[in-house]
Subunit: 143 residues, 2 copies
DNA sequence: TAATAAACGTTGATTAGTCAACAAAAGTAG
DNA sequence: CTACTTTTGTTGACTAATCAACGTTTATTA
């Protein structure tokens, strides 16, 4: 019977790791002169990967609420990285990347890859693969 | 040569997992009638585990900046979960838990443990142990 | 068809985190 | 001892997330 130690729990570890990685990524973005944030970039990548969709669908995919997505999109639209289109259902806005948005995804994917590689530098290829599988399994279990 | 896929990176996975776990924990806290948040609770636990220290030290331990810690402590102090004491160095405030603060740690540790156990329900004991080791190793590499 | 329900995006209020700048106190050097 | 530097906590401005409430528009159903 093991004692539960909070600083050793997935909750603590993922939260802390996530925060540090975001800080590193933010610094990397900033050093290129851009003021796009990691969260804004994440949203761009999701749209790029999953294709056009409306704000509610984005919210569900990102596990955030609609208000959070709305405000992120406001920032992205101001920077001309994204546009909202209205179709026949006038409640819904279809979100898609602009030319600049697509470029931003390309440029910052490299920065993101670098950050991840640095983070994983302590692992063998097998360990890294293992970690990835375990995290994916965990995510699927809780989402 | 593997292609880098962002939704498969530690950055994406840890951030998403962390967010979902926080949401679950928040819901659990709220269902007990408390308005203490997961982040506030985390800070309480750190103080409880690591002993009294000042705000700068807390900030460093939590990988947040001093302003963030200051504001969290303001909330905790308002709720009488924490007190700031001044010693000979009048710049520095030593933070310690109140009676209520200690009780809060106990009560919510159980909720936290439940949340973690539910999250890990898809894993064998060995897998869970493995995940923990890998996350700890990763954290040590980046912090 | 008319009334009701659901979906969508939006807004305001609150908690959280970062950054830059600041005053006050303590430490260091000349 | 005085001048400079560092440390500590604080504040304001900003991005981010959540919750509750709201108005429109679409869908359902009685």
């Amino acid at each position: 019977m093991k004692k539960y130690v909070f600083t050793d729990s997935v909750g603590y570890l993922t939260t802390t790791i996530s925060r540090i990685l975001q800080q590193k990524l933010q610094a990397k973005f900033k050093s290129t002169g851009s003021n796009t944030t990691p969260e804004q970039w994440r949203l761009l990548v999701v749209i790029s990967n999953e294709g056009e969709m409306n704000q509610s669908q984005l919210a569900e995919l990102q596990h955030k609420d609609r208000a959070a997505i709305k405000r992120l999109l406001d920032h992205l639209e101001t920077k001309n990285l994204v546009i909202r289109k209205s179709g026949k259902d006038s409640r819904s806005h279809t979100i898609s990347l602009t030319q600049e948005g697509r470029k931003m995804v390309q440029v910052f994917t490299k920065a993101s890859e670098e950050t991840v590689n640095e983070a994983l530098s302590c692992f063998s290829e097998e360990e890294a693969k293992n970690l990835n599988q375990l995290l994916n399994k965990l995510l699927n279990n809780i989402k």
